[in-house]
Symmetry: D2
Subunit: 284 residues, 4 copies
């Protein structure tokens, strides 16, 4: 069987579900899974379908053409179709922190993540040995104020060369430029080491310590032009107390960052995240 | 608009979703929400639909008849239709512990629970004053070894008289008889003061203390003939440590019991729980 | 036996623990429990001791005098001694929301909270019936822009008349004045319906919904002049998703508010919270 | 300064804290941290002290002798003294699962764990490449029914040769023999992939799936003769639902296993765990 996943969002109106499901049936497909959500405040409709078709008769391009004509245009949908046999290609951006990189790669090598990782890009040479031990090409591209634009062009060329579908910033300590964000809208996943919107910026653990909070968190979100303000994919927290130093906060935070980022990656790679109005619909 | 909710389960087969959604559309309905699950191990299909119909033309009985003929029989479905305007009637059974009763009634008086509570039944007179302060009839029906069967007949008569749809055992310290369970299959909700299947039975906090666990929990489940073995609706946990006494375990546990039971009640009253094979599908 | 609890904080220096414990032993006391913390950043020492003395020979005033002379002055301590037999007197301030009030009073009536509650003060008459059902005097003191100062004088007189030791704002929807805060420094406990410092202010659930967060929280803190900036006693969180409306956020939030506030009350009444530098040390 | 940590447990009696703290002061030491617990049910006293002494004058052996004579014998204490400058030596036992091994070693290489890891022992050759990439000797010692006893002798010799202080079973799929347990009482740390005491034995995720639980957990405990019944050091949980397959349970469980095991290791290496009566006192 041929598996496909369809993501849809459009203005809500009567009969969308019946139209879509009926169309799939008419095309000889079987709906394996359907998730749906209506945002009543914004009157928006969201749907995710997993379908199966007979391999012998199904043609992706033909299906897309008919779907667009019969369904997509009628309801003015934003929609995407993904072939379940094709793994997305993910680039990892890192700097000097290794914990998220190790976590991603050990999951990757255990076949936990349904992605290909064609390359790792870093603004520092420090973590190349880790990339090597997992046999993944590591591109050290130095970034300074003066070279930032040129560096990004090199990055973009690499991303195109390797046909990268989305990017994970695994504690990449550089602000990503508009150019990259425009090439990968809602396709750059960041892990922020705080419980956004509390403590945005560079030193959240220090701020959290100073404020005397009893719980710290981490947030994975899509990168947008507004720093630390992109759509939130996943968050989690852990307890802290007066007994913990800033160093303890950081260590506890690292465990959170790894977990939260890996969950966001899984949701994204399984096409379970839709974005609208700077918020996510996560079909989990 | 007239709102209805339909719960379905049957063997999985091709085309169910399209058939059902198409049928609703043909009947002039609009699907507001659809939840669906396929259990691949048991090859079972589960669905929950919220639909809206025009009040002027919709007739529940006629709809049910056609649905049964066209859809239900074809796929050999177990299905139930609920009218969204009709609140289910819930009986509360209590003994001497007041925390769950207070919690349910304060939510009820704050319109948090979409139920009617026509009566409270107890095997002790102790909590009648609470029932009175919320203006709910309180029936004290003494239960002893000798009177147990007679007492249950009185209970059953009351439940019929008040047209009770489901029962919550809010720390009711009696084992419920087969007769009552048969009248209310998967419609008696219990809160067990442990993290089942760990520590079943009557004194779980004492057992948990003795074992030195670091986390205790509570479990809400439907009551079946097998004590503490019914389908689990909801569970939650809280941390404990060596500094906590059994009394602390009990107090912390009570907070859990209240929360877990109230969540289970909300899921049940919103028709979000389906039962199959002694497990629940919870569309949350 | 006579039980006392001593709270201490002072600059850290060598020998404090030995001096204090030795002093207790010399006075014929037995240390039942000792908690201690050193804040290395601020070089501050914190300690909480529970001690037992023979009832026949122990005199609180004499003990305090000697302790002050021998220990307190030497180490320039802030210290407080509490008699374990004396329950603190707590005033509840409410407005129209009933969930925290119900929660506190049902715990109170179940002897879960070691306090006396001599009165409830409100700027609305709405919840008087609840106070009555628990037999607690309810003072409705209207607060408007014009009457605010006069109203607070009435409040203060009542608090003095009833010898109130500390105040809980159980969703009291008024900003408390400096005068009250100065009378009760670090003795007014508030529940803020957000996960501070995220979403301060009046409508945190609306802000959280708009931001699309995946977790919401509640925070209990001591009230200071800086609104929503006082020392945090306790926080907790719950998960939310795109399926939840603002109303759902509010309902889930209420459960959190109740739990978090009740935990803060227990910590405070058991003298387990020390405040320094706008942060708490919580010996839990 | 010279740092030492002392762990004490004995029957509770009057004056222990004052005696110990006074003794430390007399020896010229400064108590940096004191944790203490009294188990009222068993009338047992537990204490953990971190002290600092002047390096020029402090002699460990002399201190131990005097402590034993003046304090230890008087109160019939079990007590241990640890030199803060000496890292414990930890052996890792693994089989084929790599997730816990990767997690431990990446923490180790990030200096998060205060241990030395002189060797890794395995009953399978599969994970040697991981050991190599972290430059740690890997001993593949095949274990069959026939060779089990001989294999354990080889293991024991290696442990002695490398002066191993404690052992972590990082998903080691063999039952450890009495001989090893007797050599390392409460010094073999296991991670059990279930929320003990629920679902003991080899396939807890399958059992949890079958029971339809809503929460799964992991447990780290000291290994004793009674399988899965040793003192619990740490537990944690994660939510599951009907949408998760057994494979999902296993993947979610792995994340838990890593976190729970690493927390237990940190507690153990910081000498924060005392064992009495098959339960732990964890000074955290």
């Amino acid at each position: 069987m041929k598996g496909i996943t369809i993501l849809i969002n459009c203005n809500d109106s009567k009969g969308i579900i019946a139209s879509v499901t009926n169309f799939i049936a008419q095309q000889g497909g079987n709906i394996v899974y359907i998730d749906q959500h209506v945002d009543r405040v914004d009157n928006m409709f969201f749907m995710r379908l997993e379908c199966e078709f007979s391999k012998s008769t199904f043609a992706v391009q033909a299906f897309q053409d008919v779907f667009s004509e019969v369904i997509g245009d009628k309801f003015e949908m934003n929609w995407h179709l993904y072939d379940s046999d094709v793994k997305p290609k993910m680039a990892i951006f890192v700097s000097k922190y290794e914990h998220c990189l190790y976590d991603i790669l050990s999951r990757y090598s255990a076949n936990e993540l349904e992605v290909d990782i064609p390359l790792i890009i870093s603004n520092h040479p420090d973590l190349e040995h880790i990339a090597q031990s997992f046999n993944i090409p590591y591109y050290y591209i130095k970034v300074t104020k003066e070279t930032k634009e040129a560096a990004e062009d090199i990055q973009l060329n690499l991303l195109k060369e390797f046909k990268v579908n989305f990017i994970v910033l695994a504690r990449y300590m550089q602000i990503v430029s508009s150019k990259l964000i425009e090439e990968y809208p809602n396709h750059i996943i960041n892990i922020h080491h705080s419980f956004l919107p509390a403590f945005p910026g560079a030193k959240p653990y220090h701020s959290a310590y100073k404020r005397g909070v009893k719980i710290i968190g981490a947030t994975s979100h899509y990168v947008t032009e507004d720093l630390d303000e992109g759509p939130i994919i996943e968050q989690d927290i852990t307890r802290v107390s007066h007994t913990h130093t800033i160093k303890d906060f950081i260590l506890k935070g690292r465990d959170l960052e790894k977990i939260v980022l890996s969950r966001a990656l899984k949701l994204h790679t399984k096409r379970k995240v839709l974005v609208f109005n700077n918020k996510t619909v996560v079909f989990n």
